[in-house]
Amino acid sequence: MRFEKGRLSIACVCMVLGFMLAIQFRTTQDIKDNKPLQRVEVLTERIQKLESENQSLQDELNDIRNSSGEEHSQKMAQDIVLLSGRTAVEGPGIVITIDDSSQKSTAGEDMNLYLVHDEDLLKVINELRAAGAEAISINGQRLTATSEIRCAGPTVSVNNVRSAPPFEIRAIGSIHDLENAINMRGGVADTLKVWGINMTLQSSNNVWIPAYKNPISYKYATKSAKQEEGK
């Protein structure tokens, strides 16, 4: 072979090649030794989430320590009022309207499939709660911790008030999360669409939800000082 001219430059090129080969070999070795990258990413995300959660709990703890007892109880009272539904609330959220199917049931088919049931409403409510809805109402009835959603003949009873379709469900929370929860593939909206049940979803920056109007009375449950069972 004739390599008379430019031997040195060829040697240089060969050196570069050898260098690249060695680096690549080492990199491949490193990748094999490491834990799968995806796993690392998942764990990193989890750590970051936990850290931020930890931080917010720490902040809350500091707030409670710093604030006087009265301030703290005031804050707590505010939270309880919001949670119990004793006040009307407003904020960003969505309004869902659900009505019976406009399709006619064919002969021999159960026409119940084309109607809106309490179960359908429960499914929607469940999705909304899972997506972080802070306040929900059905046809003007605020849902509280003790509200029922129950079949009552051709109507649905909420807070012992009956209403017929169309049902209007209002929810306050992150518009993005709520919409996605309802519209996700294979989710509630998809299932109801199969039967032609009419469902419309509107998002609004100012959804108003009424207060829970019935009196609250606790006859059986009393406050307990025990923090854990059996102590």
């Binding site: 004739r2 390599f3 040697a11 090129v13 060969c14 050196m15 050898g18 690249m20 060695a22 680096i23």
Partner: protein, 110 residues
């Protein structure tokens, strides 16, 4: 020839000694660049065998092929076209082709 092998050994040793390694995100680009370099080297060997070896063509081809291959794969990644496999196939094909020509030349010579 001896000088080339010495260079290869020296480069290899250097590569093992330096503490860097390629970040995972770029390992794909680097491997395709390496394959292009290998292709250039085999092409150079073939040219030497056929007696029309030119060191300028060889050296410029070595670097430009490696850079172009890496660049193509990079652009393909951003355009959603997986050019990695295309380059892999094309370069692999060329390497085997060159190898065949080198073998033919060696057999004819002896």
């Amino acid at each position: 020839m001896i000088l080339a092998i010495c260079g290869l050994a020296l480069g290899g040793a250097l590569g093992f000694l330096v503490p860097w390694s390629i970040p995972v995100a770029y390992s794909k680009l680097f491997s395709i660049a390496l394959l292009a370099s290998l292709d250039s080297v085999f092409g150079g060997l073939r040219a030497a065998g056929e007696g029309n070896f030119d060191d300028k063509i060889f050296i410029s081809g070595f670097f430009s092929n490696a850079l172009l291959a890496a660049f193509l794969v990079y652009v393909g990644d951003h355009l959603g076209i997986d050019l990695y496999y295309v380059a892999l196939l094309a370069l692999g094909f060329r390497i085997f082709n060159n190898l065949g020509r080198i073998r033919q030349y060696l057999l004819k010579k002896h």
